[in-house]
Symmetry: C2
Subunit: 347 residues, 2 copies
DNA sequence: GACCTCCGATGAAACGATTTAGACACGGAC
DNA sequence: GTCCGTGTCTAAATCGTTTCATCGGAGGTC
């Protein structure tokens, strides 16, 4: 007897309805759902039939209320529009999928307020655990989460005296690699195009750049820092205009960008302004997103193991969820410079 | 009196605990949470104090079990790695945010099985509604969702005799625009590089291409179709190799790709193989993602109003959720060709 | 035929919040 | 002194599921 949605609200069928239709008790329906082996074949088939007829959909709220746990993880991304983070997310997804959990993606879009709202909501939903690339890894809300029982793994950032697991890439080293590469190519005046200093990745990569610069014995004032509002393609273009505006004797011959979006924007602006890359300006990006190699001039970039980053982070989280003897761990991957046309050629 | 997490499981505090600590009844705590105006200031402050001390986190499962509704929407994306869809997602997010709902992103990655798993899970979670760019818009699971009370809006696809709202772009027209542009430029042999035929967007864009070709009176065999496994950058590169492998008299002078990822891959392979764009091969992409303009040769592409698509879809869903007199609506946006260097120049 | 086992199914009690009807106290008005 | 209204707060029922102690009956053993 199929249900015909009446005039009123088509309230969906519950286990109680299924039990009544199948002529069994409530507990038996639950057994069919959770321990089918404890139910005789004939009863089970009768119950399954009733579920199909009624269009029964298990109510996850009730289930997780009773059991006290959900079957989901969440990843709070810093910027869903940046392919770097979607690649990380894919790594997480693969790990979650093979553990039989579903993954929710949330996008903080670099805004603390949005991040906070997402975290609060996820905590109320009682997700098993949260992976996050935080706007600010020192945000006390993160501590509050673990204090109150939601495991958290920090992705693509680390944190000082940490009570979290984290998976990151050595950004200081990445910055060094980039700038050493430019120094090797003979550049004497370089710009570091970063996003806002509030972003840790931007700070660390800049720090690495300065270290390499200092070690090469070059004067600090010849490493110019350009801060952008956000590490996006549009801001990269804007940075290009600012570079052109500099007096010729101060104008850098190369730029290291805090990520590939900035680098692509800068590249685009430079070329459309009639200048050449790397002739007039060599460019190094960061992340080695898939589009970097397909750019106007294939982009030299610092590669991070994006998908592995995600996979490893998810594994740590799953371990923390499943294993009571879990020890927090800070994994740091090593970046690698991929040299392409945007820096190769006459300097 | 702050709670000290004991040796056992740090079971989080419930309204009951808060009530006990504050010395009020359970209902009062609930009132503080939901109708703070009905509670006297002193009591309210006492309760709030207790909540803070105990680290109380409202249990969303219990709440939504009782009230029968959640505060979330979900968008099931076809491919989170494609910037087109993340732009759509951003549009949705903005609308959801201003309605005070949170948005979960799920990625089907083009796989029916994953899509199905996500949908089942979202249905069990009793999300308010689902936006989806489906692998197959005729999937009966979508009908089953609305039958069982979860509103669904189809994004970037339409469906024949529809009992859904949908927001799409006219893909047949988009295909025509692309191929008419190539015909105008004098091309007599063109390749259509599509993804798998199972993807509706791929079929429709191809259909538009064929229509334009036929109307120009060109022989059908000179519009070659190359099917790829998936509409990705890697497959675009592979398609490039296949094109080179064709005998010279059959080799096309231009390619129209079903999306920008394919086009960027094709572009990259063509250039690294020593041929020029548009000299040896003109290329038109589709979607006009941000990276298209920054490509090796800036890419001519068919632009879709990505963010508006998402925003409008979310608005339709919110209307369906909130307004009982809601009428289903099929919105179709019009695409627009953006001509750039990859087709301009000597044909 | 009495007794024991074991399998399958049962029913009630939880989980943590919301909701509603009603209790209680406190003033003010007559 | 009684009555009533108002403003707060309480107690109990409820949402849909899982779990656990229990019960009935079929089959086997002596």
């Amino acid at each position: 007897m199929a249900i015909t949605p009446g005039a009123g609200t088509p309230r969906s069928a519950s286990v109680k309805d299924v039990a009544a239709t199948a002529g069994v008790s409530l507990g038996t329906v639950s057994n069919v759902l959770n321990r089918p082996d404890r139910v005789s074949r004939t009863t089970r088939e009768r119950v399954e039939r009733a579920m199909a007829d009624l269009g029964f959909v298990r109510n996850e709220s009730a289930r997780s209320l009773r059991t006290g746990s959900t079957q989901s993880l969440a990843y709070v991304m810093l910027d869903a529009g940046n392919p770097f983070f979607t690649d990380v997310a894919r790594g997480i997804e693969l790990a979650a999928e093979s553990a039989g959990l579903s993954l929710f993606l949330c996008n903080s879009d670099g805004r603390s307020a949005r991040e906070g709202a997402h975290l609060a909501h996820l905590q109320q939903q009682r997700v098993q655990g949260i992976l996050i690339t935080p706007v600010d890894p020192d945000d006390p809300q993160l501590d509050q989460l673990i204090e109150r029982g939601t495991p958290v793994v920090i992705v693509d950032r680390t944190r000082a005296g940490s009570s979290f697991c984290s998976v990151a890439v050595d950004d200081v080293l990445g910055g060094r690699l980039a700038v050493e590469h430019l120094i090797d190519a003979g550049h004497k005046r370089v710009a570091y195009v970063g996003g806002p200093e509030s972003i840790g990745q931007v700070r660390d990569r800049g720090e690495g750049a300065r270290q390499a610069w200092a070690e090469a014995g070059l004067p600090p004032e010849d490493l110019i820092t350009l801060s952008c509002e956000a590490p996006t393609v549009a801001c990269g273009r804007a940075a290009g205009e600012r570079l052109v505006g500099l007096p010729a004797r101060r104008r850098p011959t190369a730029a290291f960008c805090a990520n590939d979006l900035l680098a692509l924007g800068l590249l685009q602006q430079t070329i459309s302004g009639g200048r050449t890359v790397p002739g007039d300006l060599a460019i190094v990006g960061y992340d080695d997103i898939e589009f970097a190699a397909a750019a106007a001039v294939p982009l030299t970039s610092v590669r991070q193991p994006r998908q592995d980053l995600g996979r490893r982070a998810a594994e740590l989280l799953l371990d923390e969820v499943g294993d009571p003897t879990h020890e927090h761990e800070q994994v740091v991957f090593t970046p690698e410079l991929v040299a392409r046309a945007s820096t190769l050629g006459r300097p």
